[in-house]
Structure formats: structure tokens, C-alpha cells
């Protein structure tokens, strides 16, 4: 057995024979070569589909991919997600509004001109020849239906239209909006009213594949996964330079930033402050930032003990060294806030900062009847804002030093939203954007007694906010909002630590990109 020589000349027992060796090596080399060719083939095809690297003499690609940190969960601009950044971003490209905001002024969009016969009546004259993506004409009845749908819904945007009395479509090109009391924010509210076809408003599946009149039409949409848009060649306004605009959703921050580095996406936001230096030093990529309307805040549930006592809330604020935390965690990407709204917003007025004073905090707590501190909870939604967990943990350390024990609760988005709206929380940490750039959107929507978003009720504040909303005199509105800021700030309805810059990562080949302060950039003038 072992001593017999085998037919192929090997003297070993059952070891590897020369024939087997050659056979296996051949298969190995062949297999590797095949895999290599397949790999090369795949990379070539993906690079052509993303428009390739900018090596071929500056020919701009007509496809752009943009990834951002939140999923698009709905394309319904009058639904529960009607203030969600992602839905607003998508809506701006698919639908039109009567007016748009350019910088600090409001410009005509679907409405070419408007006038106010009396303080409670606004008449808007619509543009001719605006068509929806399915070819039907956009008329005043579509505007009427869209606004009525929004105003009577139970959605976060609806409270902007609390004073709406009626909408009339006298003729196909004229819309008359009547309010019960004068509405000073009519125009800025209209920048969020997206016009959808009246005929389709009762169709519940319409918004899975909606048609609008905007510069892009929907080619494919899967909620929380991707949105693909094609250009609308019949658009009434300036034609977009892109043919295809895609919004893939990449939930992991590191995967999203890597996609930008490799060119799998062309634009991404937000860039977390800790990853900023790595992005700026990557070749082929630049970071553009701008002061934004986005800010972080930590609300107290003012309807629940112990936060129904203003001294406790103020104590919690004095206990924290806001300057150090913001400086260390966010660096140049953020500024310490000194009002309940960012300094970029109309209605902002600087307030007296709360100094870092743990002794004062302890004496306030003692005066409020908590000499030994107390226990409470803090909740936030995973991934809702860059570095929010670090912020919560940093706050917790300072609160621990004055004897307040906080249980940190990191929740998944749906669970957090349910508890938030049900007021089932003690403290809520989150970010928000003053999307319209006008203080009414945040202060007027969230801090009224009727809104009851954090259990705070103050009749003086209510009067300030409703007066400011119904006035059309911008100077008077500014004064009223200054008073509103002071009330909210001094009563410590929440802690307002920082306003963050909007930071976008953009590949060098992208031209015409303008960073937007509300995290909702427009891609109509952009080339990839």
C-alpha cells in the first residue's frame, strides 16, 4: 500500500500529486482572472452611471445623486410629515408654491402678483400655462383644494392657518384668501403650501407616485429608501440643467461620507463637526457651510413636576457650562445661542445668557423645594441630529454635579415622535429648523397655549404671538417677537444651547450648488 509507487510516480501515500497540483493551480489562476475581469467590468459600469470622474475635459454630467441624513418617509405635502425636512426638500422639486423665498425677500412663483384689498383679504393672480406632469392645467381650484386640505388637517403645519376663513377660486387664474384676523405671515406660510391636483386629493395612493407642476417629476419612489426624479421638460420656469436627480437614503453616517469620498454620491449633508476635518482634507471633495436656521434645544415638560416650577428650569440651565460644551463638541461648526431662535431668523433678539453657576443652580433648587436634587428623564431620537448623544451625555454630567439624576433614553424615531406629541416625557432634546426663516414658524407655532407642545402656557406670550402673526407691519412684528423671545428665554421653557452651521459635502465636479440655511437646498441650477 504505502510502499507501492503510484501510477503518476509519487512515492508519498495520499499526498498532493503533481497532476493535482497543476490542476488546482490552473483553476485558481483562471478563477482569479475571471473575478478580476468581472470586478473591472463592474467598476467601469458604475463609474459611467454616476457620471464618472471629471477627467474627460469638463463635460458636466446630467445625473446627480444627493444623500442626506433623514429618510423621505412621505411625499404628501399636506400630511403628517408636512414639516419634515426631507418631505419639504422633495416637495420643493416636485411641486410649486404661490411664492418662494429668495434670501430675505419673497418672490412670485405660481402667483405673478398679489394685492390686499383689505387687511383680511389677499388676492393672488396666477400664471398662465402652468401644467401638471400629467398634462392637466393648474388652476385656482387646485390652489383652493390644496390650501383647504392643509388648513383642516391635523398636521403640524395646520396651526399656521388657524385664522383662515375661506379660499375662493373666482376664475381659473385668481385665488382669493380671506382670514378671520389679519395674517402677517401669509406670504411666508404660502412658501410651504405646495399645490397638488384637486382631483387627486381623495386618492390615498396618489402620493406614492404624485404629480406636481414643479421642475422635476417622480420616476420612482420607495419610502425611506430612495427617490428618483426626472426633469420636467414642460416646466414653466427656467429648465433645470440636470436630467436626473436621485436621493438615495444612506442611514449610516460613515457610509454616507464614504459614498461622497468615492463619488457614489455627489452631494451630502449634514457633515457632523467631528468628521469635518477629515472631509475638508479629502481631495475631490469640498465642504461648503452657511449659518443656518437649524438649532438644538432641550425642552422641559412645563406641565409636569418638577419642571412646572420656573426656578427648577433655570437651575438646570445654570448648572451647565454651555460655552465649554458647545465649543468642545462642535468647534467652529456651531455658535452658542442667545435667543430661543437662531440669529439668522427674522424676529431674533439677543437675550441675557445664563451664566455657568452651579452654586446658583443649587440655591434655586433649594428654594424650589429640592435641596437634595431629584430624578428625571431625558429622551431623544437616534440620529436625529449630529452628535446629539454626546450633547445629552455632557449635560448629564453637569446635572449630576448639582444632584439631579437623569435617566437617558435614546429612542427610535417613531417611538420618540409618539411620546413627544403625547407629552409623555420630562425633557426632550432635539434639533429643529425655522424653515421659513420667520420667527412665527417656530415661536408662533410651538409656544402658544393652544399648541400645547410642552405644557407651557402664558397669556402675555399668546397675545404677543397672535398680534405678531396678524400684523403686516414688520417693525411692529420684530418688537413683538423680541418680547416673545424674552419671555421664553427668561422662563427657561427650554435650554437653547446652540445653532449649527449647515455643512454640505460637495464633489468638486458639482457646479452651481448654493448651500441653503434650512437644510433644504435646491438643485434646479446645479450640474453634477
Amino acid at each position: 500500500m504505502n510502499t507501492e509507487t503510484r501510477a503518476n510516480g509519487s512515492l508519498e501515500g495520499n499526498g498532493l500529486t503533481r497532476r493535482d497540483f497543476v490542476r488546482f493551480t490552473g483553476i485558481g489562476i483562471g478563477g482569479t482572472a475571471l473575478l478580476g475581469l468581472a470586478g473591472c467590468g463592474m467598476t467601469k459600469s458604475t463609474s459611467t452611471s454616476t457620471g464618472g470622474t471629471a477627467t474627460s475635459g469638463g463635460s458636466a454630467s446630467t445625473t446627480l445623486k444627493a444623500a442626506f441624513e433623514r429618510p423621505i418617509i412621505s411625499l404628501d405635502p399636506h400630511g403628517a410629515a408636512d414639516v419634515d425636512e426631507a418631505t419639504l426638500l422633495a416637495s420643493r422639486h416636485i411641486f410649486d408654491t404661490l411664492v418662494t423665498r429668495t434670501g430675505s425677500t419673497l418672490a412670485p412663483s405660481i402667483a405673478t402678483k398679489w394685492d390686499q384689498p383689505d387687511p383680511n383679504t389677499w388676492v393672488f393672480h396666477l400664471r398662465d400655462g402652468v401644467k401638471f406632469h400629467d398634462g392637466s392645467a393648474l388652476t385656482a381650484s387646485d390652489v383652493k383644494a390644496s390650501l383647504e386640505q392643509l388648513a383642516r388637517s391635523n398636521t403640524p403645519q395646520a396651526s399656521l392657518w388657524a385664522s383662515l376663513a375661506s379660499v375662493e377660486a373666482g376664475d381659473p387664474q385668481t385665488v382669493t384668501i380671506k382670514t378671520k384676523t389679519p395674517l402677517g405671515t401669509m406670504l411666508s406660510n404660502l412658501t410651504l403650501l405646495f399645490v397638488t391636483p384637486a382631483a387627486k386629493l381623495t386618492d390615498s395612493s396618489f402620493f406614492n407616485n404624485p404629480v406636481g407642476s414643479g421642475p422635476f417629476k417622480v420616476s420612482s419612489f420607495t419610502a425611506s429608501e430612495h427617490l428618483n426624479l426626472d426633469v420636467n421638460p414642460e416646466y414653466w420656469g427656467a429648465a433645470p440643467k440636470l436630467k436626473t436627480l436621485q436621493f438615495p437614503y444612506i442611514p449610516e453616517t460613515s457610509a454616507r461620507l464614504t459614498s461622497l469620498k468615492t463619488g457614489a454620491v455627489d452631494v451630502t449633508w449634514s457633515i457632523p463637526p467631528d468628521q469635518m476635518s477629515a472631509m475638508t482634507s479629502t481631495s475631490g471633495v469640498k465642504v461648503v457651510s452657511t449659518p443656518s436656521y437649524v438649532y438644538y434645544f432641550n425642552w422641559f415638560n412645563c406641565g409636569r413636576a418638577p419642571f412646572n416650577d420656573v426656578r427648577v428650569r433655570q437651575a438646570m440651565w445654570h448648572a451647565i457650562d454651555v460655552k465649554t460644551i458647545v465649543g468642545k463638541l462642535f468647534g467652529d461648526s456651531a455658535e452658542v445661542m442667545n435667543a430661543p431662535i437662531p440669529s439668522t431668523v427674522f424676529g431674533y433678539a439677543a437675550q441675557q445668557p445664563y451664566d455657568y453657576n452651579p452654586d446658583k443652580a443649587k440655591s434655586l433648587l433649594t428654594a424650589a423645594g429640592h435641596p437634595d436634587g431629584f430624578s428625571t428623564t431625558l429622551m431623544w431620537s437616534t440620529g436625529i441630529a449630529p452628535q446629539i448623544r454626546s450633547l445629552a451625555e455632557a449635560f448629564n454630567t453637569y446635572w449630576g454635579k448639582i444632584g439631579v439624576k437623569v435617566e437617558l433614553q435614546e429612542l427610535e424615531q417613531a417611538a420618540w415622535l409618539t411620546r413627544l406629541l403625547a407629552l409623555d416625557w420630562d425633557m426632550d432634546l432635539q434639533n429643529n429648523s425655522v424653515t421659513t426663516g420667520d420667527a412665527d414658524y417656530s415661536l408662533g407655532r410651538l409656544y402658544t397655549t393652544a399648541a400645547n407642545r410642552m405644557g407651557y402656557s402664558n397669556p402675555t406670550l399668546d397675545k404677543d404671538l397672535s398680534d405678531a402673526r396678524s400684523s403686516t407691519d414688520q417693525t411692529e412684528r420684530k418688537k413683538l417677537y423680541a418680547d416673545a423671545c424674552k419671555i421664553i428665554w427668561n422662563d427657561a421653557v427650554g435650554i437653547f444651547p446652540l445653532q449649527i452651521n449647515a455643512a454640505y459635502g460637495v464633489r468638486d465636479s458639482v457646479q452651481g450648488f448654493v448651500p441653503a440655511p434650512n437644510n433644504q437646498p435646491m438643485f434646479t441650477d446645479v450640474t453634477a
Binding site: 504505502n2 467631528d274 465649554t324 455632557a394 437617558l408 435614546e410
Partner: protein, 289 residues
Amino acid sequence: MAVIAQSVGRIRLRPRVPVRIWFPAALVALFILAAILGPFIDPYHGTQTDVVDRLLTPGSKLSTGGTAWLGTDQVGRPMLAQLLAGARVSLIVAGATVLIGGTVGLVLGLLAGYFRGWIDSIIMRLGDIQLAFPSILLAILIAGVLGPSVANVILTLAITRWIVFARVVRASALVASRRESVEGAKVVGVPNLRILRRYVLPEAIGPMLVVATVQVGQMVIAEASLSFLGLGVPVSQASWGSTISNGRDYLNTAWWIATFPGLAMVLLVVSVGILGDALHHRTDIAVSL
């Protein structure tokens, strides 16, 4: 002639315990020691953040005077303390899960293998349903209803793992129950419990221990996975999984946050696996004799 040459070549002095056994065993013992003593030597306080000391490289000096041997994370907590605290959590969870799941699996497996019939059917079908149900969903459910805690992690993992032990024990029990010694004992009138204890159980212990050793490694990974997803330990407690999760956005800039717990996990799981393998060889020889 060739045969004689081969046998002469094979006679050599063997060390008492081979390297591939004592080295992993030493590593595991080191981990256990670190888990027990670590939190006394270098305690971890999940709520003590210090943003001034954030993202320090390994070996840097802290503002409080000490040294961060393995660096600090993004809120300034030292990584070494997190590693030690995480070791404790991992080993407690793995040990408790194997103990609880193993005991339940042992009992049910013995019953199923010895009595057979409808008891066997019920237990095995229950196990099949369990295996078909994704454990992550169960973890989400339990974490959502009861909240995150070490006890809930142990509960979740034990519920999903008892079947692994039960199957192995059942196989041994089936074989052992058919022995003539057992038949004879039944004829003589020995009570079932005594038969199980004296005849069947010793058969099942061997394979059961092997499976248990492998499952310890698996449970370390499972606990880390749950904590990575946020379904495991609460925010203020350190676990290797949650530490890795904390560091996953910083792989390019502050690699030490995710790397050290990852390395620790690899070392522990591989060592346990090698030990389990060695145990398997030994018990195999014993069984086949």
C-alpha cells in the same frame, strides 16, 4: 522499511499541556480576572463625561492628571475603563445566558430524549418555532416593552438559545435511553428520575459542555450585536457592542474607540472557541471508548 522509518520518526516527547490549550486558557483567565478586578482598579462611570478631554489619542494625559492608556471617546470617557466594564458585562451575560439557557435546554432535552412520544414532539416543535423566529425581533420587542437592561438581554438570549442545548442533549438522551442498562433498570423498577440522573445525564454532559463552551463565544457576540443596535445595555452602561457602536463614525479619525473592544472580543471569542475545540477532542475520545 518505510513503515519502521515512520514509526521511529513519530516517537517524540510531548509537553504536558500543548500550547494551543494553555495559551487560549490563559487569555480567557486574563479576561475573567480583568472583568472581576477591573472595575475596582479602574472604575467606569458612564455619566462622568468631560468634554475637555474628548477624542484623546492612546497614551495622552488627561486634564485630571491621569493617563488615558487607550485614549478617550467623544465625550472624554477613558477607553480602558470602558473595556474593563464591557468585559464584565460580556462575561456576565454570556455566563448567565449559557447557565440559564443550558439548564432549561438540559432539562427539556433529557425529557424529550428519554420519554419521547408527545413530550418530544411538543418540545421540539416549540424549539422549531423559536428558531424560525428572528431573535432580533424578539430583542426589539423585549427592549421596547421592558426597557434596556442587562437582565433583559440575558432573558432575550436565553429564550432564543435553550433549543441549541436541548437538541444536543436530546440526541445523547435518545442514544443513552436505548442502552440495555436502561432497559434493565426499567424492568427492575428503578424510578425514571433516578434513571435520568444515573444513566442518561452522564452521557449528555459531555456534548453539552462542548456546546456550552462554543455558545459562550456566541453569546458574547450576540450581546455585543444587541448593544451595538441599541437594544442591549442602557446608555450609561458600557458594553463592547455599544462602545463599538459609539466609535463607528470615528473609524478614520479616532480609531481607538471601536478598535480595542473589537480586538478584545476577537481574542476572547477565538480563545473560547479553541478551548471548546480541545474539549471536544477530549470528550470525543472518552465517549468512543
